[in-house]
């Protein structure tokens, strides 16, 4: 996204939320959704708008798991490692995906295609094991299904 566009989008987010300390987390969430991560200049902008020190913003941004301070991949793959998923084989799913897309948990691929992360629960435990690709939930996973899911996706990418 070019700098002017980012600025315009930030302005829009700031004006819909308004001022006040309790707007910090909602604003950061909106920015995270809009840009996929929290760019440094956006954080600066938010700090000036809310009159909150950069130190405090970073302390908040680094505390909550939703916030990323570096760019994430186009496909954000979130594998659930919650209890229901764990006992139904989540660790094997993570392994399989790590091998298929060639990055480890917590990493983003160099071409910014994928980010692989795990979370405590997606809330679809009855369909365990589950994962999300961006916002879409895929349930009742097996290592094979997960392998196919990502081979297809990366196949498309290469096509």
């Amino acid at each position: 996204m070019d700098a002017n566009l980012i600025d315009a989008r930030v302005e829009e987010i700031l004006s819909t939320h308004g001022k006040g300390a309790n707007k910090l987390v909602p604003i950061l969430l909106a920015a995270q959704d809009a840009f996929g991560y929290l760019p440094g200049n956006v954080i600066q902008h938010v700090g000036e708008f809310l009159a909150i020190s950069l130190g405090q913003i970073y302390s908040v941004a680094s505390f909550y798991k939703r916030f990323q301070l570096t760019p994430v991949g186009k496909r954000r793959v979130t594998v659930c490692r919650g209890t229901a998923c764990h006992i139904r084989g989540a660790p094997q799913i993570v392994n399989e995906i790590e091998q298929t897309i060639g990055i480890k948990e917590g990493e983003t691929s160099a071409d910014l295609e994928y980010t692989l992360e795990t979370v405590a629960c997606i809330g679809c435990c009855a369909l365990a094991p589950c994962l999300k690709v961006n916002e879409a939930v895929h349930g009742a996973m097996t290592p094979r299904k997960a392998g196919v899911l990502f081979t297809d996706v990366s196949g498309n990418k290469n096509a």
Partner: protein
């Protein structure tokens, strides 16, 4: 030929949507037109019907015909079955393997009829995005009734009902309301805790997705009772549908005068806004949650800390309850405290809602009377363990709870019996484990979780859970030492005593309970380098 007149409910819970429920809705609309039935049939978007594992679900009322694992390709047959003189589509019905035949109505499926759905009464039944549907189901009647009562009368009713908070600790709700009522000051806040950070639990999400108006109604009544004008619904951002539907419910409630200035013509004004959590388990803890709304890191306030009912959001008196606690309020006001108190066990009244998951035949969202035996939940409702495997343990209370062994299957499930057994009610996760689950691995798993989620403020929790994790990791890798079990017990007990908040105080529970009930598995790892469940690669 009598024309059938039916309502077709299409579950739009997160689980069913992940299976394609939105496409089903679209196909259904087209197909009804194609088969000339759109006039007689009403399609309804419903919230979570509970049996998520069999989703996407389609229910045809009034008969309750229950179709499971529906795909868009099944829609022509389903619509055809709505024509006069036809029969249901057998292949999509729930097949009961114990009696070897399909069951037509969900009301005849043990998964449903063994339950007691009070709080979940509207989930999967009404359209959560349509306030008229909620009103037709009795929504906001309790609010009318409450507005004609004195705040102290309402609090007295809640106290007499015996309702205890369903967010985990089971604190008596009426007493909390009374404290918030008595706290001095004009500005007070209501908060609904929908953070639901426990892995393996989705009941708060389902209630918010399926019946947001009941939760709102409970919050409004609470606001009137304690004298608050503003409420926050704290919902984790991983739950986009819950946030979306609650947002719609709030807008509709404002339009109808249930929220906003002079509610229903009274002098009482109250409004609710949604606050999305940004992902931190510890933010489910009251003082941390409050700080996170204030735009700070969500770390529990240091001890000694005043009660949130006295010093809460912006240092004002604040009443914080769980989603399901609020959803119970309209029931109690409508039916009376006597009615409510007549259900449940001696010290735990009403119902408990669980997310029944793991190695169990039927998994989903269930509600049972407090005091129902574990066996009834796992075997009668849950249908037992799949693939002829043996039941090994059931985990309740998430990272704060414990694992209960087969010997305790006859235990009545309520707040106190679970605590006495070394576990916890928690927010309602219930994960069933079979012989293929390793209890040491589970203990390691939970400590990995708490260790990641510890806010790091106090040493016992930050360092202690890490030490416990390292020992457990060694044991699962085949590097266990004979003294490890004693060290774990010692560390566990000190972390329980010395931690600053309930996260640390309960973090050792998964370890302590597995040592208590499954010590032989620890010993097999340590002394024989053998993992009886065949899970730990370091000891096969």
């Amino acid at each position: 030929m009598p024309e059938k007149k039916c309502t077709i409910l299409v579950c739009q819970g997160t689980g069913c949507i992940s299976g394609g429920a939105e496409q089903i809705l679209n196909s259904l609309e087209t197909e009804l037109v194609r088969q000339n039935l759109s006039g007689a049939m009403q399609i309804k978007h419903a919230g979570c019907h509970g049996f998520c594992q069999r989703g996407p679900l389609v229910v045809i009322e009034p008969e309750g015909i229950f179709y499971t694992k529906v795909t868009p390709n099944d829609i022509p047959d389903i619509v055809h079955s709505l024509q006069p003189d036809t029969v249901p589509v057998e292949r999509l019905l729930y097949y009961d393997t114990t009696i070897n035949r399909p069951i037509k109505s969900f009301r005849d499926i043990p998964f449903y009829y063994k339950q007691q759905r009070l709080v979940l009464r509207n989930c999967g039944v009404i359209n959560p995005e349509n306030i008229d549907d909620a009103l037709a189901a009795g929504g906001y009647q309790a609010l009318r009734k409450a507005l004609a009562m004195k705040p102290t009368e309402i609090i007295e009713e809640i106290k007499k009902s015996g309702l205890r908070g369903l967010g985990g600790a089971g604190f008596p709700t009426g007493r909390k309301w009374e404290a918030a009522f008595q706290a001095p000051g004009k500005d007070k806040y209501i908060i609904c805790n929908g953070d639901e950070g426990d892995p393996g639990a989705f009941q708060d999400r389902s209630v918010l997705e399926g019946d947001p108006h009941s939760v709102l109604e409970g919050m409004i009544i609470a606001g009137f009772a304690i004298g608050a004008r503003h409420g926050y619904a704290y919902v984790r951002n991983e739950y986009p549908f819950a946030v979306h539907r609650l947002g719609i419910a709030i807008k509709q409630a404002r339009k109808r005068g249930f929220l906003g200035k002079n509610i229903l013509g009274s002098k009482f004004s109250f409004d609710v806004e949604i606050f999305q959590g940004a992902g931190a388990f510890v933010c489910g803890e009251s003082t941390a949650l409050v700080l996170s709304i204030e735009g700070k890191r969500g770390m529990p306030r240091p001890l000694p800390r005043p009660r949130t009912t006295e010093v809460g959001l912006w240092d004002k008196p604040t009443l914080l309850n769980n989603v399901k606690t609020y959803a119970n309020i309209p029931l109690i006001i409508n039916h009376g405290s006597q009615w409510f108190a007549s259900r449940g066990s001696e010290k735990s009244k009403g119902t408990a809602i669980f997310s029944l998951t793991g190695k169990v035949v039927n998994s989903g969202l269930i509600e049972v009377t407090m005091g129902t035996r574990l066996r009834e939940i796992i075997y009668d409702i849950g249908g037992g363990i799949p693939d002829g495997r043996a039941f090994k343990a059931v985990q309740t209370g998430g990272p704060s709870g414990g694992c209960l062994p087969p010997e305790l299957l006859n235990m009545p499930v309520d707040f106190d019996s679970l605590t006495a057994a070394g576990s916890m009610m928690g927010s309602g996760g219930m994960v069933v484990m079979d012989q293929d689950t390793c209890m040491v691995d589970i203990a390691r798993y939970f400590l990995d979780f708490t260790q990641r989620e510890s806010c790091g403020q106090c040493i016992p929790c930050r360092i202690g859970t890490k030490q416990m994790f390292d020992i457990l990791d060694n044991i699962t890798q085949g590097r266990g030492k004979p003294e490890d079990i004693d060290t774990l017990l010692e560390l566990g007990n000190s972390i329980k005593d010395a931690s600053l908040c309930a996260l640390g105080q309960s973090a050792p529970n998964p370890v302590l309970s597995t040592i208590r009930y499954f010590r032989d598995e620890y010993e097999a790892h340590i002394y024989e380098g053998h993992c009886p469940a065949g899970v730990c690669h370091g000891c096969l």
